[in-house]
């Protein structure tokens, strides 16, 4: 069985969360928040790895639960790392 697709609100929360804490680049005003599936999956996997979860790249229950865990406001990855990753 394939894993169930995340609900739209979870996906929206996930993207917002990943951007806020440095896993996705900040929203581009020209393109909105469009992300490729690959980019999103990669970001989720990095976040899972950083948070001690299995890096599946899938926005599952455990990942959403971790995103709802109280935490520090500062990003986990610095903005610089984005430029580096893009290169």
């Amino acid at each position: 069985c394939a894993a169930p697709a995340p609900r739209a609100e979870d996906l929206s929360l996930g993207v917002e969360w990943l951007s806020r804490f440095g896993y996705l680049p900040p929203a581009d005003p020209a393109t909105g928040r469009l992300q490729t599936q690959e980019e999103l999956s990669k970001a989720i996997a990095t976040m899972q790895q950083f948070g001690g979860l299995k890096a599946t790249g899938i926005l599952d229950e455990a990942t959403l639960a971790l995103m709802k865990t109280p935490r520090c406001s500062l990003p986990d990855l610095p903005p610089l790392s984005w430029a580096r990753r893009k290169r």
């Binding site: 971790l66 520090c72 406001s73």
Partner: protein
């Protein structure tokens, strides 16, 4: 992927709790104590010294804020983001630490929904000194709240965090890296100063002065609080100018390291350069870090280029960042940063018009004004002024020490009753 490390170039860092939680069960004193211990976690192992100060120039300003509080990290009510701190740097908010005032902040609580303030503060102060988030699960610098970390008096940083802070600042002299690796029993830090309250089990002593009739030996603002010294005792007023207790505290039990035979002090002041506290008595002086005397004291006051005979008063004037020493009708101006007496002194006092030429002591208060004390009276000089405010002198006992109007003989009668 860690960014280039930012760190403080100085090693003496001041801190201040600017705003306290509004509806929390934790009182201001508990909050300040938890901040003290959370910072101490880092300064115990790295060559950093943290000093609580009263002024608005503190390096680490601590706030409890709600929602959008004018930085790039708005809070979001209970849960979610709970705190943040700014890395060291040139920007004005460097080191500042913000806690979400809408969290249920707790300390030693069994409430599973509460947020342990000490645990969060240790993490945030890690940012304030330059550490970023890491993924190591045992690290205090991993970004998620994982519950209380235990007793603030016994908490010891995980190995990863110790190594990272050593990489930034080196190892504190008193810490042997080998000993750290051997994971010895943690040293127990000193207990927080006990508030000078009336819980003492010792019977009242005959030499206890009464606050309403005392001519104080020394008055000082220390860490934003006022201390009134008389004989072997002192009274303490918190930042809101409220007496902590009507009963005086015993000087030697609080200021650890003062000789027991010392029956009084002449002058006390908090040094602006490093926030250590200096006590004068006769031709000698002592330097305290918090409430423990430093090694090598007492020393002669000739270190300050002061002549033998002692001082009546010591006063740090923020207006020009100089310390003034007073003796009889003379005064000296001293630079605590260069540790040199300014040339041209002593001069004939007083510098401030309307203030008596001989003083018991003087201090600055958090309203920005300076206060000069002699006998049972005090004079107020507004910030930046060179003249006493109109309407002074006023009664020290009435305005500072919760005594009634000083009617003739009343103070004496009250003292006798006490």
């Amino acid at each position: 992927q860690a960014p280039a490390p930012t760190k403080w170039n100085k090693r003496n860092l001041s801190w201040r709790v600017r705003t306290f939680p509004r509806d929390s069960a934790l009182g201001p004193d508990t909050v300040r104590a938890l901040m003290y211990y959370a910072l101490k976690v880092w300064s115990d192992i790295a060559p950093l010294n943290f000093h609580e100060v009263a002024g608005s120039t503190a390096d680490i300003q601590i706030d409890f804020s709600r929602a959008d509080h004018q930085d790039e990290y708005p809070f979001d009510g209970p849960g979610g983001t709970v705190a943040h701190a700014f890395f060291p740097g040139d920007h004005h908010s460097a080191g500042d630490t913000h806690f979400d005032d809408e969290e249920a902040w707790t300390f030693r609580s069994s409430d599973a929904h509460g947020m342990d303030l000490f645990a969060v503060a240790v993490h945030e102060f890690g940012h304030a000194i330059g550490l970023s988030h890491v993924s190591t699960p045992s690290s205090i610098m991993q970004p998620y709240y994982q519950g209380p970390v235990g007793d603030p008096l016994r908490y010891r940083l995980p190995y990863d965090d110790r190594v990272r802070v050593w990489q930034l600042y080196g190892v504190r002299e008193s810490v042997s890296p080998t000993a750290q690796l051997d994971t010895p029993e943690p040293e127990e830090p000193p207990l927080l100063p006990e508030p000078p309250d009336n819980r003492s089990s010792t019977p009242p002593r005959k030499d206890v002065p009464h606050r309403c009739s005392a001519h104080f030996d020394a008055v000082a603002q220390i860490r934003g609080e006022a201390f009134f010294f008389k004989g072997k005792y002192f009274w303490r007023l918190n930042r809101d100018r409220h007496l902590v207790s009507l009963q005086p505290a015993q000087m030697h039990r609080f200021w650890r390291g003062l000789p027991l035979h010392l029956d009084s002090v002449d002058a006390v002041y908090e040094r602006t350069s490093d926030h250590k506290i200096v006590f004068f008595k006769g031709d000698r002086y002592w330097v305290f870090k918090d409430n423990n005397v430093e090694e090598g004291y007492p020393r002669p006051i000739s270190d300050f280029s002061l002549p033998p005979g002692g001082v009546d008063a010591a006063f740090s004037w923020p207006h020009n960042d100089r310390t003034y020493f007073f003796k009889d009708q003379l005064y000296w101006r001293y630079d605590d940063h260069t540790r040199r007496m300014d040339p041209g002194y002593p001069a004939q006092g007083p510098l401030w018009r309307g203030v008596p030429s001989t003083l018991d002591d003087a201090m600055r208060w958090s309203d920005g004004a300076s206060y000069f004390f002699r006998g049972q009276e005090y004079w107020k000089v507004q910030e930046g002024e060179l003249e006493a405010a109109p309407g002074y002198p006023q009664s020290t006992a009435r305005d500072w020490l919760v005594c009634g109007e000083p009617a003739a003989g009343e103070a004496e009668a009250e003292a006798a009753r006490a």
